[in-house]
């Protein structure tokens, strides 16, 4: 089996062109899925018998929360690849992930607390999932802060990659300790553990939005990756040729 495709992925010119070619293949399905899923979720799906219309925020909240974690994993894994095999493109991927992941985390927190107001009667409840999400936001902010602290891109890459890997090891520990902490302190009145199964009219839009958001993230990552490669390779000769062509 040939490994050339893998080695090609480490080459900035190849990745720059590949990202440009792939972007529409992710962006258009993402747009279609999100629009269709939101229409189905916000208009077609019946209101929840307990939460009324308020449950519909799940169609933004759940995909944001899912992506906030997935983006961190993508970031940590690509940072580890960059750190171990010294692949610059992998560092560029990790660097492009962080602001996107932080934004999804903020979106999950905001929609979560907006949902909390009618459901819990308060904007903020020390719910284990919301608390974990808040800690995740600080992990992202630490990563971005560390990157911002270095002038030299390569040093920023390697230092922040190490932090991302350390964070990746810690995320499950933090998550479980927060869950454990919460189970000790809070009366289990807010969230029932065994929720009734969602009817298909509610579940299908949710799955569409989840897939749509994920594809949207990939498209966004590809665009950001191109910008990142442009910034890093601004003095390279291949770039001048590619831009002239």
């Amino acid at each position: 089996m040939s490994w050339t495709w893998f080695h090609k992925l480490a080459s900035p010119p190849y990745v720059y062109k590949l990202a440009a070619r792939l972007t529409p293949w992710f962006a258009w399905p993402a747009a279609l899925l999100i629009l269709a899923g939101l229409y189905a979720g916000l208009v077609l799906a019946p209101p929840d018998y307990q939460q009324g219309e308020g449950f519909r925020i799940i169609y933004v909240h759940a995909p944001s929360a899912w992506l906030s974690i997935m983006v961190y994993v993508v970031m940590g894994v690509s940072a580890a690849i960059g750190l171990i095999w010294r692949i610059k493109v992998a560092h560029a991927v990790a660097a492009s992930c962080a602001p996107v992941g932080a934004s999804f985390t903020v979106a999950a927190l905001v929609t979560g607390s907006l949902w909390g107001k009618p459901m819990w009667g308060t904007f903020w409840e020390w719910d284990p999932r919301l608390t974990s999400e808040l800690i995740l936001l600080f992990l992202y902010l630490g990563y971005l802060g560390l990157r911002a602290g270095f002038d030299d891109t390569q040093r920023a890459d390697r230092a922040s990659a190490l932090l991302a890997v350390v964070g990746l090891v810690n995320v499950p520990i933090i998550h479980y300790s927060v869950t454990w902490w919460n189970s000790l302190h809070q009366a289990p009145s807010v969230m029932r553990v065994g929720k009734p199964a969602m009817p298909a009219a509610m579940l299908t839009p949710l799955l569409m939005v989840l897939l749509g958001f994920t594809l949207f993230f990939v498209a966004l990552l590809l665009v950001r990756l191109r910008a990142e490669v442009l910034r890093r390779e601004r003095t390279a000769s291949w770039l001048r040729e590619a831009l002239r062509a």
Partner: protein, 251 residues
């Protein structure tokens, strides 16, 4: 100062080891170097005793703020004592991180460590151990007295001491990674907090829980064991990460 002495005893040990198997001969200098690094850091620190007291004073000062800010009522203070103690310990150990690598990075000792051919992981473990002996351990010894002033009964003090001793080990090790990552920066104080605190939350949760159980007179072994598990994990992995971070910072 004593950095010249780092290589001489190591080689003499290798000679003294003589016919011992090669593995033992190869691993002994790493341990010897680590012991030397610990004793060097301790010796340097005891020449500047003022610096040693600062985190302790800070810790006591923070615990003093709460009776003034909340209420002097001992019953109320007792209920918030575990949280107060652990938040103060977290902040004090954060403050102390500044002393961990700063001087050695400035005078080039860290570079010599990296170039010495010794395992940098062991040396980082040694530096962190020395740091813990100088800050974490005194903090753990002061914490029961601070707890007394917050209205906690004397029966709870062994539990508090145990939780603090085990918890501060992890805090020092996590802090070592963050301190090594921010070595090259001029002003890293706030960033150091931003990097360290989210990673320290499991220690805070388990430590405060163990303290709370000890204060209320219950069995506190379960959270203490979780704390110990975190400490074992940190002892195993954090020196590796800190060594990698120092290498990146020295590049």
């Amino acid at each position: 100062m004593r950095s010249a002495g780092l290589s001489a005893p190591a080689s003499s040990v290798a000679v003294a080891a003589g016919p011992v198997s090669r593995d033992a001969a190869a691993s002994a200098p790493a341990l010897t170097a680590a012991c030397l690094a610990v004793s060097r850091d301790l010796a340097l620190a005891f020449r500047r005793r003022g610096q040693l007291v600062q985190p302790l004073a800070f810790f006591v000062l923070v615990t003093l703020l709460f009776p003034l800010a909340v209420s002097p009522e001992l019953a109320r203070l007792r209920s918030i004592a575990p949280g107060v103690l652990w938040v103060a310990a977290l902040l004090a150990s954060l403050l102390a991180l500044e002393f961990l690598f700063r001087d050695d990075a400035q005078d080039g000792t860290l570079e010599q460590y990296a170039l010495s051919g010794q395992s940098l992981t062991w040396l980082m473990f040694a530096k962190t151990l020395a740091h813990w002996l100088l800050t974490g351990l005194p903090l753990s010894i002061v914490a029961p007295f601070a707890a007394l002033s917050l209205g906690v009964g004397p029966a709870a003090l062994p539990g508090i001491l145990a939780a603090m001793v085990v918890g501060t080990v992890t805090l020092s090790l996590i802090g070592a990674i963050a301190a090594a990552l921010t070595l090259g920066m001029k002003r890293s104080g706030v960033l150091l907090a931003l990097l360290t605190l989210p990673l320290s939350l499991p220690v805070l949760i388990c430590g405060a829980r163990a303290t709370e159980l000890a204060v209320s007179g219950n069995a506190y072994l379960a959270p203490l064991e979780l704390l110990a598990a975190l400490a074992v994990l940190a002892v195993t992995l954090a020196p590796l990460a800190a060594a990698a971070a120092v290498r990146i910072s020295l590049e």
